[in-house]
């Protein structure tokens, strides 16, 4: 038994060290001069210069703001549209329900990410190329979100709804006062997945944005890193830490709550 435990601990730690290695390397290079990028001596001099360099070489503040706006817009859109649609699927019976729900499930497999060519044409037709809404629009309605909220709403006892109706609450009132509060863990869990996904999304924003005013952090980072004169890991990693810092911190601080919300949301 104790052997077993020791073996598990060693395995878990080995894997953990392997998994944390990229982050560890990012921290190492970001805080040391470029000469120590590939040279791991314990007493290498520390510096903050890489951060200053990265900050002055590209408008990361702006990129950061763009990403923040983008992620917030997508999240709000997904919550509103997802809630309304999930409620319809969970509590109404109407013609076409099966077919429409099938169409929602289709989006679990066929995501807008792979339809880059046609979506690009559509955005161009809407004259929205190089705008933040253009990055957000394809993701506003999420099949995953609708599916998840429907599952949660289905588990809400009917009696609660009936009681509210007897009190004279409207359908939307019931949704807002009964269903939404009970589904809060689902919103939290789904919100975290959505935020981390769109914070890190790259391909679609790369295609659809062209300027500093709209580019999210990921695209900004890739442009910053693909310079003619060779990779400067120290500066790139300083930029990486700067731009992922807030998300990193939030996740580290709230990892327990995060997992618990998943648990209670029944994402399993």
């Amino acid at each position: 038994m104790s052997w077993d435990r020791a073996l598990n601990t060693v395995g878990a730690w080995a894997l953990a060290l392997l998994w944390v290695l990229p982050l560890a390397y990012a921290i190492w290079t970001a805080f040391h001069p470029a000469a120590y990028e590939a040279n791991f001596t314990l007493w290498a001099p520390l510096t903050l210069e890489n951060f200053a360099k990265a900050w002055s070489a590209a408008p990361f503040g702006r990129y950061f703001l763009n990403t923040f706006i983008l992620v917030t817009a997508i999240l709000i859109g997904q919550f509103i549209l997802g809630t309304l649609a999930a409620y319809a699927f969970a509590r109404y019976s109407f013609p076409g329900r099966g077919l429409l729900f099938g169409l929602v499930l289709v989006q679990l497999m066929i995501m807008p990410d792979i339809l880059i060519v046609e979506n690009y044409k559509l955005i161009r037709a809407l004259d929205l190329i190089d705008t933040i809404p253009a990055i957000a629009l394809p993701y506003i309605a999420s099949g995953f979100g609708i599916f998840l909220l429907r599952q949660t709403f289905l588990s809400v006892p009917k009696e609660l709804e009936e009681a509210a109706q007897i009190e004279g609450m409207s359908a939307l009132g019931v949704l807002m006062k009964v269903y939404v509060p009970l589904a809060l863990p689902t919103y939290l869990a789904y919100g975290l997945v959505s935020v981390s996904h769109h914070w890190n999304n790259f391909l679609w924003p790369l295609i659809i944005t062209n300027s500093v005013e709209t580019r999210p952090v990921t695209v900004g980072l890739s442009i910053f890193a693909s310079i003619d004169s060779g990779v400067e890991w120290s500066v790139i990693n300083a930029a990486t830490l700067m731009t992922s810092g807030p998300l990193l911190l939030a996740f580290l601080l709230f990892q327990r709550q995060f997992v618990q919300s998943f648990m209670r949301a029944g994402i399993k």
């Binding site: 549209l81 995501m111 060519v117 790259f202 952090v217 980072l221």
Partner: protein
């Protein structure tokens, strides 16, 4: 009357979501097919009906076959591995463990760091000579490697980064699911005299089946969608050895500006995903009940 009002209510609730779903998923999927029968418009020549010409090009295109085969290997290489590692990680951090906080944090990092940034770091790990891997293997007297620069290993290099990312992400789902399993169930099995491995196989794993379904659907989709790191690591090279279908679609559409052929390639991708969706539906149908 009352029923009709209910219907209208439901449809109104669905309307906003469906406007966007149809506009950015279902309609584009159909227009992709339609556009694959046309030529690409160039500045001096408008688009014209091409019939199956684009499909002839596709069949004769060695790069297409190469990236298709790559993508299949990529899926085979990354999906099971990342799911198994995710499960193992989740089991580990779900039990008492020295330094569990750190271990869990380490497993979390891939979810938080963007692939595009991580790819730069992995590129350093892989760099021949002074890269991390070579520095370590060099201590044991091993020769320089060039994982990303050789056609037989470049895809593996890309796959490792993918597994790192995916396993960390899926771990969260398994961990959440593990925590919902009542400890009394495990305790009961233990009293019956079952060993840890039997408990896992007979109790825990079956209870995790819905999570496995969810995670595997995600993993399948991601194996056709995750190409961010390829931009930095290899650019699809050498000679397309590490290129995947979506990366090739991107190149054809946005570097060569041949949107008609890109649409044709997308049709293939859509067909694959549809086939996989149907396959998964039948495969998991008996084992999981989602209602």
């Amino acid at each position: 009357m009352q029923r009709t009002r209910q219907w209208i209510h439901a449809w109104l609730l669905l309307l906003p979501a469906f406007v966007f779903l149809l506009a950015f998923t279902h309609v584009p999927a159909i227009t992709t097919l339609w556009n694959s029968f046309w030529t690409t418009a160039r500045g001096r020549r408008p688009s014209r009906w091409a019939g199956l010409d684009n499909y002839d090009t596709l069949i004769a295109d060695p790069v297409f076959w190469k990236v298709l085969v790559n993508n299949i290997w990529f899926a085979i290489g990354t999906i099971p591995t990342s799911i198994v590692i995710a499960l193992v990680m989740a089991v580990w951090v779900n039990q008492k463990l020295a330094g569990r906080g750190f271990v869990r944090m380490a497993y979390f990092t891939p979810t938080v760091l963007p692939m595009i940034a991580v790819a730069n770091i992995w590129m350093f790990f892989y760099t021949p000579g002074f890269g991390l891997i070579d520095q370590i293997t060099g201590l044991f007297g091993m020769a320089q490697s060039n994982i990303l620069g050789q056609s037989d290993t470049a895809l593996v290099g890309v796959m490792i980064v993918t597994i790192w990312k995916e396993a960390g992400f899926f771990m969260i789902f398994y961990l959440a699911a593990l925590q919902t399993i009542p400890p009394s169930l495990i305790e009961a099995a233990r009293i019956e005299g079952a060993g840890p491995w039997t408990i896992f196989r007979r109790v825990t794993f079956p209870l995790l089946m819905p999570t496995t379904l969810f995670v595997s659907v995600n993993a399948v989709v991601n194996s056709f969608r995750m190409v961010d790191h390829i931009f930095i690591l290899t650019g699809g090279g050498p000679d397309n050895a590490s290129s995947l279908l979506l990366f090739y679609i991107y190149e054809v559409a946005f570097r060569f500006w041949d949107t008609a052929y890109a649409a044709t390639l997308t049709v293939v991708l859509l067909a694959i995903l549809a086939a996989l969706a149907i396959g998964q539906f039948f495969f998991f149908d008996r084992k999981v009940h989602y209602k």
